[in-house]
Amino acid sequence: MVPFLELMGFGPRGWGAAMLAAAAMTLAVSVAGFLLGGVVGSLIAWAKIAGKRLVRVLADGYTTVLRGVPDLLVIYLFFFGGSAMVTAINRDWFGGQGFVPVPAFLVGMLAVGIVNGAYQAEVFRGGYLAVPKGEIEAARAFAMTRAKMFRRIVAPQVARFALPGLGNCWQLCLKESALISVTGLLELLRQAQIGAGSTRQPFEFYLAACVLYLAITTVSGWGFAFAERRTRRGVARA
């Protein structure tokens, strides 16, 4: 039995480097997924708020379906379906041979981003609806262009209203990243499982993974608190 500090250290019997690398992978796939989710989410929110009837129905369908099915199913679909599709396209259209793998990181980012986008869309929509109508009318009365109105009136306030909800979405992202292990991506939970199965010292590995997850959420929590304070500059505390 290797003592905890040696097991999580950087010596010949230490898994420290592997665990840190896996934590970095978790962080990378979560950040990439969260950013993609931001792009998807704003587009869907826009479609829901300003779209024509058909666009609205499609956007509603998107958020309903992707928030309603298990995340694991979305991952399986991208991972197995994605590779099979790319391979088939390569074979039929380009005369290519053999299997074309879709990188596990890309699959993870897409799956996390597309599911998280559905949640973020609702957060953005809520944020937009909280912007007082009068301010938008006032901006129009000043003959602001749509771009200027978005930059000066809408975006800063949506950011303020949406940030707490986005903080939740970020934590969802982080936890969904643990499901990506089925694709073979060496993220934190998969690394902890490998270590536990290989050394038969599961407590040490799951404890270390727990500490690393908490470290990531704590530090990012500070980041969100800071951002919330910034977007609230000049606003009286209720």
């Binding site: 039995m1 010949p12 019997r13 230490g14 898994w15 592997a18 298990p70 694991l72 199913l73 399986y76 679909l77 991972f79 197995f80 379906g81 590779s83 099979a84 599709m85 391979t87 088939a88 074979r91 041979q97 053999g98 299997f99 793998p101 292990s181 089925v182 694709t183 073979g184 998969r190 499982q193 490998i194 270590g195 536990a196 199965g197 290989s198 050394t199 038969r200 599961p202 407590f203």
Partner: protein, 286 residues
């Protein structure tokens, strides 16, 4: 857990429909090499070293077989969930992950000849009444000795009435328990063997059911001094014909290469030697 299995099966069938079989000459394995997947978390069959490299019985065996087949091999780690769908999707060409041949698995993939076989049985705490189960040295083959095996199972059923048994999900062991013990005992399925080991240690289950090789490895670890294998060992039938290399059905040529290499490795004693090195018992198929 059931849902995960269903999803994997769904994805596998999807992949089967989409991925057409690849045609190619016999020599394509020599040119492109063979990618072999293992779990990397099932010591001592296959596991990961602190630096990240893979090691274990199946890693040594894979290297030996590849030398015999004169092909270049790469061994990659893959989560147990999705290990079969990923094979059929073409992510790698072979599975060597302590995987038993079963009828259900043979519906979606093909297997080479068996390279390791060993009994499965119960692991219990030494102070549990189950530790006094009779016949611990006895071995029963469900196919070749159906009557004796049935009598032994009936004896176990009486002993296990009302108990809780842990087992790894989606394995031949889980199938065995569900077939013979579902109505008398509570069967709790775990994602990995190491998880049911922990729950046995914490007395949340009365017994675990696993391969004797895995139980021996677990009970040799610190913290497991007070646990032991109890009752007879079973093999064959629903428990699978033994551990073999899993391949895509289309790759008949690769199966031929593996079959010959395994036969040679059995004949010259390599598999026995590797088995003694990693398990301390001979698991080469009799």
């Amino acid at each position: 857990m059931k849902r995960r299995t269903l999803l994997a099966a769904f994805a596998a069938s999807l992949a089967c429909v989409l991925a057409a079989p690849q045609a190619g000459a016999q020599s394509r394995w020599a040119t492109q090499g063979v990618r072999i997947a293992t779990e990397g978390a099932y010591a001592p069959w296959n596991f990961t070293k602190p630096g990240g490299g893979l090691d274990g019985f199946e890693i040594d065996l894979a290297n030996d077989l590849c030398r015999r087949m004169s092909v270049r091999c790469t061994v990659v780690a893959q989560d147990w969930d999705g290990i079969i769908p990923s094979l059929n999707a073409g992510r790698y060409d072979a599975i060597m992950a302590g995987m038993n041949i079963t009828a259900r698995r043979q519906e979606v993939i093909s297997f080479t000849r068996v390279y390791a076989a060993g009994p499965a049985g119960l692991g219990v705490a030494k102070n549990s009444p189950l530790a006094r189960l009779a016949n611990t040295e006895a071995r029963f083959n469900l196919e070749r000795q159906p009557a004796e095996a049935r009598a032994a199972i009936d004896a176990l059923r009486a002993a296990l009435r009302g108990k809780t048994i842990g087992v790894q999900v989606s394995t031949t062991h889980a199938n065995f328990l569900n077939e013979y013990f579902k109505d008398v005992a509570t069967i709790r399925e775990y994602r990995t063997t190491e998880q049911h080991d922990l729950d046995l240690q914490n007395e949340r289950v009365d017994a675990i059911w696993a391969a004797h090789s895995a139980l021996t490895a677990t009970f040799g670890q610190p913290g497991f001094e007070n646990f032991t294998i109890a009752g007879p060992g079973f093999s064959g039938g629903i428990l699978g014909a033994g551990v073999a290399v899993g391949l895509r059905k289309a790759d008949e040529d690769l199966r031929g290469l593996f079959d010959k290499a395994i036969a040679d490795a059995l004949a010259d004693g390599t598999i026995k030697a590797l088995s003694m090195k990693w398990f301390k018992v001979d698991l080469s198929p009799q």
